[in-house]
Symmetry: C2
Subunit: 228 residues, 2 copies
């Protein structure tokens, strides 16, 4: 397998975590977004929208070029079921997918590189306005995420279960693959989580970052990251 | 079941289509977004992010309040497998999910009501700038969608299969549940598809709108739509 990705791309980061959790080896192909490599003809031939990540299965177990991070992770989970990244029951699966999508559909798309660039040019917004934009959507999204975690903890408490260690239950899931990159990205944009009342969300972040699979996937640990 | 939704909401529209395709009866609960009902305490108690749609299972087959349209549709597909909204093979499933997510993660979030409102206030963009914003992301997204359909048709041709009638194969899928509301929404914003080179995408739209399940889900056919 070969993953076309970029060290700072949150969506690439999601797939790197999933590959690591599954223990899958994968060649790292850098597409340098800041240098515009995603717009070059060679990459556009692979990805019509010029987006990363893109997973080339290279025939293992079948030929295929997969796009969209959540779809890639669900494919990996179906083909390599251990350890599972979704719970076995439909309701649990819908909860995990909803958490993942609350990041992937409500927070990330409004704040990715191409949107922030458009705000700068042609819209001419200054840095302060762009930071306010970023914070507005991410803060709103994280407070909702926290509220969902609170509800899930209450459901567990009602069944006499201890608090979950991760977003959903005691093992990392698709939801954590999406949450952690969003939180790490927010830090880079100077978002201060201390001022937000999101203790459950931050506890999940900490639990995830204790795992080698998450740490190895961090932007700074990627081959295309600039040397420290 | 009870669906909290709004006639003009594209994400609500997706779930209405899926419910119709599955032949499931569902109570329609209107949350009038333009009047701000999603911000009222009664709804916020159900939905921490104040988003529609929300599906209350009401104990059938289990208690549960489900959020995020794609997660809801996958739940319905797992619990009510006929007719399937995802193909049986992992690669096909990843293709359908990727098409759905190319709408749900690349086009819709950047253009939904709350984002367009923020562009107006506090950012102070005029109507022309907001229309240019809308068109920029949707046109880019639809051209990429068309390119993916072209690739899928080429794959089918290589296997001596006739062109697909819908986004993926000969039955409507999760991808069509996402595509059709996006296209209908774009029309409302004055987007002219004739000027775009997206014949395969428009053929899928037409095929879908020949189905009662899609037509009944149209905004104008919802109980909270204003009388014509």
């Amino acid at each position: 397998m070969k993953l076309y990705n970029y060290f700072r791309s949150s969506t690439s980061f999601r797939v790197r975590i999933a590959l690591n959790l599954k223990g899958l080896d994968c060649e790292y192909a850098s597409v340098h977004l800041a240098r515009g490599e995603q717009r070059e003809a060679a990459y556009r031939a692979l990805s019509p929208d010029g987006l990363v990540p893109l997973l080339d299965l290279q025939g293992v177990p079948e030929p295929g070029l997969l796009s969209q991070s959540m779809a890639i992770i669900e494919y990996l989970d179906e083909v390599y079921p251990q350890p599972p990244l979704l719970p076995p029951d439909p309701l649990g699966r819908s909860r995990v997918r909803a958490l993942a999508q609350s990041v992937a559909c409500e927070m990330h798309p409004i704040n990715n590189l191409r949107v922030l660039k458009y705000l700068a040019q042609p819209l001419g917004l200054n840095e302060e306005q762009r930071a306010a934009w970023y914070n507005h959507w991410v803060v709103q999204g994280l407070l909702a995420y926290e509220q969902r975690l609170r509800e899930l903890q209450a459901e567990r408490a009602a069944r006499a279960l201890p608090p979950a260690r991760y977003s959903y239950g005691d093992a990392p899931s698709l939801a954590d693959c999406c949450l952690v990159p969003q939180l790490i990205n927010g830090r880079r944009f100077g978002l201060s989580y201390d001022a937000l009342d999101i203790p459950l969300t931050l506890a999940v972040l900490q639990a995830c970052l204790e795992l080698d699979a998450f740490r190895r996937a961090l932007p700074e640990n990627c081959p295309d990251a600039p040397p420290v």
